[in-house]
Amino acid sequence: MSGIQTIQETGRQGGSLRKWLSAPVPDSPFQARMQALWLAWLRLRGNPPALAGAVMLVLLILVAIFAPLIATHDIFAQDLMTRLQPPSAQHWLGTDDLGRDVFSRVVYGSRITLYIAFLAALIAGPVGLLVGTTAGYIGGWTDTILMRLVDIFLSFPSLILALAFVAALGPGIENAIIAISLAAWPPIARLARAETLTVRSSDYIAAVRLQGASRLRIIVHHVMPMCIPSVIVRITLNMASIILTAAGLGFLGLGAQPPSPEWGAMLSSGRQFVMNAWWIAAIPGCAIVFTSLAFNLFGDGLRDMLDPRHG
């Protein structure tokens, strides 16, 4: 024990953060956590596509946060005198059919896209996790019924299901998020169930059960944490398809509604002018591709790092 202490202290005294991060036995929970983060960073650095995805995502999040500072024009200000102008020094990415600045609108659109994606993931993730772990842990009829339900949801392509739900709920961004989440939870539930089956018969669960923990407690405190890493990977990969679905709903006029600078909605309103003014549709489309590519790259990398079987 004292030996480790000395190593750590000499490490600190020497100012060698790296030594502290790579100490063989961590000394405090804080150090252990930092070491885990450091390892993750090393692995990420060894995987260029994943690193590229991560950089793209950070960039996107920064753009979303600092949108008011980055945007050069008011996104709702119409100016019919300067409508449909090609990219220029004044308007970096041109103007749309109402003379609004395309660059500023795309910048603000990142907020809406990330809002939809994260909110949908925040709904679908926990729901899938709860259903999957419950089914896997309790088993029997509960398992049969819940997994049948999952199978039925999986019998529809997610876009079709989201379309049907939005048609029933009515158009709008909140309803689009609900519809996307309703279509996105089943694969997560299936994954969480598979993970649960591998841990449910392990000794530590038996130990907790012998101590008299309730089923709910075991599921929430002892099964769910084990499933969270793979669920996060899965959700990151799903983010790309969530974004494409959201853009598709916006394009059809069922998601975010027109004055909003949602990328799919921008594409849809620029559609009739696309033959003469390609930038109206090309730019928001590129933004969609950039975002879903970032999530795909990062998700693939995460999976490779956490699950070497699929490498």
């Binding site: 019998s155 392509p157 079709i160 299901l161 379309l163 939005v166 029933a168 790309a240 394009f251």
Partner: protein, 354 residues
């Protein structure tokens, strides 16, 4: 009752005489019927989830109480929910999906009319996707971590990340408006529309059979761009799956044995490794075909393609729920059907499963 729930009891007791193939078929039947029931329940639920009152939608807000109740009874909405559900199932079995608010015709007839256009588009799309996807996937695996592999993987990744409706728009701008290589939106030039004798309703086949090569070329010019865009998405999926199946096979010892024997690398890859994954690839193609239907919904909107997807989106915009429910159910049925077919193909074609 699910197949998994019955399975453990079987060997011990009730029907010991059943041969294994019959048992697995029975299990499959039970599982399919449960899924079908679920599909109907889910679509019924979606149809009932409407925030607006269907009775008020028909009668307007000023209807008297009597008229309201009369209409409610006429629509069957005064019945308990399970009676409504049984009626719904009954009408589906009779292929009666009600009438469309937009076209005023029976939904089943409408779907029968628009569906061939989608089938034609999706089939050409899957041919393109399979024709490119399988060789690319195999080559990527055979030359792992070389330029070919990186190219295939990046190409596939872009295919996964690109919204096909946007690709459609850009394709129209580039290949139709700027270069003039392909025909524009629609399925056929309006000038030819009434010249084709509908036999199969698949225009490529109809015109080829009638020997109308000028019209055939026009139809081909219309279909090639949307089908390529759909095929691009399918290609991304097929090449990625083929690559990972092949990587698994190429790590096996028989590959080394074949090489030691003196077989060339390409003969080993195609003659030995690919033969072992062929059945898996077929199941992937079946699934990709199902996903094309999803992609078709948006692609058809962009290309004004008079198919199933555009019929559905038009209905969505006006809240025509009979059409939405029928189309959703149909897509679900096709999805389940294709899954079943790929499952059966797997059992029939792959000797290892017997």
């Amino acid at each position: 009752m699910s197949g998994t729930a019955i399975a453990p009891r079987r060997p011990g007791g009730t029907s010991p005489g059943l041969p294994p193939w019959l048992r697995s078929t029975l299990r499959l039947l039970v599982s399919v019927s449960v899924t079908l029931f679920g599909l109907m329940a889910l679509t019924f639920f979606i149809g009932r989830m409407l925030p607006l009152d269907p009775v008020a939608a028909i009668l307007g807000d000023n209807a008297t109480q009597e008229a309201y109740e009369q209409m409610q009874a006429q629509l069957g909405l005064d019945q308990p929910i399970w009676v409504q559900f049984i009626r719904y199932v009954g009408s589906i079995v009779r292929l009666d999906f009600g009438t469309s608010l937009t076209t005023g015709k029976a939904v089943a007839d409408d779907i029968a009319r628009v569906f061939p256009a989608t089938i034609e588009l999706a089939t050409v799309g899957i041919l393109i996707g399979t024709g490119l996807g399988i060789p690319l996937g195999v080559l990527a695996a055979a030359y792992r971590d070389t330029l070919i592999d990186y190219f295939v993987r990046i190409f596939g990744l872009i295919g996964y990340s690109t919204p096909n409706f946007w690709l459609g728009l850009m394709g129209l701008v580039l290949f139709y408006a700027t270069l003039g290589w392909v025909e524009g939106p629609g399925r056929i030039n309006t000038a030819f529309e009434w010249d084709v004798e509908p036999v199969t309703d698949l225009l490529l086949i109809d015109t080829a059979m009638a020997g109308q090569w000028e019209i055939f070329r026009d139809v081909l010019g219309h279909i090639i761009l949307p089908a390529s865009i759909l095929g691009f998405g399918a290609m991304a999926y097929i090449s990625r799956m083929t690559r990972s199946f092949m990587l698994e096979q190429l790590a096996q010892e028989y590959v080394v044995a074949a090489r030691v024997k003196g077989l060339s690398w390409m003969r080993t890859v195609w003659g030995h490794a690919f033969r072992n994954v062929a059945v898996q690839v077929i199941t992937v193609v079946a699934l990709a075909y199902a996903f094309l239907l999803e992609g078709a919904v948006l692609t058809e909107t962009v290309f004004a393609w008079p198919g199933f997807g555009r019929y559905l989106t038009n209905a969505l915009l006006v809240g025509d729920m009979n059409v939405v429910v029928a189309c959703t159910l149909l897509v679900g049925l096709i999805f389940v059907g294709l899954n079943l077919i790929s499952d059966l193909l797997y059992r029939i074609l792959d000797p290892r499963t017997q």
